[in-house]
């Protein structure tokens, strides 16, 4: 087990924005209390917020070999029902205010959370090394989850602790959801070193966030590209943040100019700005750009974490050895997850990836061994840090709107959805917003006369974008 709460017994593990302070000894006690109500290894849905109750649900699961499937507490209700039908969890751990949404009986409650025993009992067998299920950092409402093993989580946590040089003196303020792989990695790593989590659901555009961060001397925060765009807009560089030491960025490629700006700020103010690379399929992290070279190498992604390895493959399937040549980025390491689950039966599956991951990103490497992401092989966008598959989204729309002609394209943080019937524009957009839980500004639905296709009937996305975007 990567966590030893006894070792840090009198350290503060958590301070939340209700001013509640919890030591590691207390967290251990809470974890044991909750575990008593879940007698055996089984599947539990954990509806997450950045609150103490949510955290206890997660720590209890991981420490007691209970398999948690992590979801956003604000998830669309229909989706929650569908996931429950597909995976049949024994329990659901959720904010007490939402307990009416789940069928079953409340067997325990505390910390504003309820444990609901569902009518199901061990419906689907669980593979012995399966630890955790996370959405594929996308949220297209598909029932696809990444299967993470205990070894995955432990190895990735150890690598991250090592390259970020984390110690018990850290106080990260939560800026990302716990059900999101990047947000969860912040929790995993800091609990492993006896540091203090500053738990809040507030965001950087709220005054309360900054007050909380300053009051409790936050030493680090994390963000996706959109977070850094907001910070830039808020003239973050003018703020006095004496205790802040580290800013980490992942969840998509930051605009190179912003990378340079934050790296410059970090150098001038004696802080670290760490650009990182990862995905739920690799537990959380695959690469990072050491902060010492963040400014010289602005726009670059970095190198593999300790214990991992990157390599590039060309169109013929050959490994590229020369610097500057673009190929698909592959990663190998103990943190490459077991595979996906699309339904309850898949929870019994073993390791399907065997430690190797095709990232779907196109990259090149320089003479110093530093990688840069230059494009994508697979059709997906990163929307506010979430990977959203374009083909999956098209399928989702077509399933919900039978007979519709549609095509999805666009750029990060802005999906273009092309339809051929004007009256479909509004319903499609409303549907996507509801199903993904993403802000409406992420979706631009455009009505076109017809979708350009090749002779085989495949949509010509490039042409479509040139014509209308």
């Amino acid at each position: 087990m990567m966590w030893n709460f006894h070792k840090y017994a009198d350290h503060l593990a958590v301070i939340d924005d209700d001013e509640r302070q919890v030591t590691y000894a207390e967290l251990e006690g809470f974890t044991q209390t909750l575990a008593k109500h879940i007698p055996q290894r089984c599947l539990v849905f954990c509806l997450c917020q950045n609150t103490l109750g949510s955290l206890i649900g997660y720590t209890t699961s991981l420490k007691n070999r209970i398999v948690a499937l992590m979801l956003d507490a604000h998830l669309d209700k229909d989706l929650l029902v569908r996931f429950q039908e597909q995976y049949r969890p024994d329990y659901v751990w959720l904010p007490r205010s939402l307990k009416e949404e789940i069928k079953g009986s409340e067997v325990f409650f505390d910390w504003d959370y309820s444990l609901i025993k569902t009518p199901d009992h061990h419906v689907y067998p669980l593979f012995e090394d399966l630890a955790l299920l996370l959405t594929t950092s996308g949220s297209t409402g598909s029932p696809k989850f990444v299967r993470q093993s205990y070894k995955n989580i432990e190895s990735n946590t150890a690598s991250i602790v090592s390259y970020l040089h984390l110690t018990e003196s850290e106080r990260p303020v939560t800026t990302l959801p716990m059900n999101y792989t990047f947000g969860l990695s912040v929790i995993n790593t800091h609990l492993a070193v006896g540091a203090t989590l500053l738990l809040t659901d507030k965001t950087v555009i709220q005054r309360d966030f900054w007050d909380f961060m300053n009051k409790y001397d936050a030493t680090s925060f994390s963000g996706v590209p959109y977070t850094y765009e907001m910070l830039n807009k808020l003239l973050f560089f003018r703020r006095r943040l004496p205790t802040l030491r580290t800013m980490t960025q992942a969840g998509g490629k930051l605009l190179p100019e912003l990378h340079r700006k934050f790296a410059e700020y970090a150098r001038q103010s004696g802080k670290n700005f760490v650009v990182m690379y990862g995905s739920a399929e690799a537990t959380a992290r695959m690469g990072y750009l050491p902060p010492e070279i963040s400014l010289e190498k602005w726009g670059c992604m970095g190198k593999a974490i300790s214990g991992g390895r990157f390599f590039l493959v060309d169109g013929q399937g050959e490994i590229i050895t020369e610097p500057g040549v673009v190929g698909e980025l592959f990663y190998e390491g103990d943190n490459v997850t077991l595979g996906y689950a699309l339904c309850g039966e898949d929870l019994a599956k073993g390791d399907e990836n065997h430690g190797r991951l095709a990232t779907g990103d196109m990259a090149k490497v320089d003479e110093d061994g530093i990688y840069t992401i230059v494009g994508r092989k697979k059709r997906f966008l990163k929307i506010f840090g979430n990977r959203v598959g374009l083909d999956e989204t098209e399928q989702l729309i077509k399933t919900n709107f039978p007979g519709i002609e549609c095509a999805c394209a666009g750029k990060d943080d802005e999906m273009h959805v092309y339809v051929t019937e004007k009256e479909r524009c509004v319903p499609v957009r409303t549907f996507l917003v509801q199903k993904t839980g993403l802000n409406p500004v992420a979706f631009c639905v455009i009505c076109v006369e017809s979708l350009p296709k090749n002779e085989a009937g495949k949509v010509l996305y490039k042409k479509l974008e040139e014509m209308y975007a």
């Binding site: 965001t203 950087v204 555009i205 709220q206 907001m230 807009k233 808020l234 993403l438 802000n439």
Partner: protein, 78 residues
């Protein structure tokens, strides 16, 4: 458009709500007014009134009503 109409329009167009609902809105009161929506609202207001809001005002603009008071600092009466 009057200033008031422009002000209301910034909310109705950003959050896709009617004018009556717009007047009662506050941050996180509707799903669309999350942190992403907040940035869109600020952009809409800045464009409508041709101003650049101070970061402190961006943080404080947490409801329709508060926004009125903040715009007054920029000599805009809505």
């Amino acid at each position: 458009m009057t200033n008031e109409e422009k002000y209301i329009h910034a909310f109705t167009s950003t959050f896709e709500v009617g004018a009556d609902e717009a007047k009662t809105l506050q941050f996180q009161g509707v799903p669309a007014w999350d942190s992403v929506g907040h940035v869109s609202l600020i952009a809409a207001l800045e464009e409508a009134f041709d101003i650049a809001l101070d970061p402190d005002d961006i943080l404080d603009l947490s409801s329709f009503e508060k926004g009125r008071k903040i715009l007054a600092k920029y000599n805009i009466t809505v």
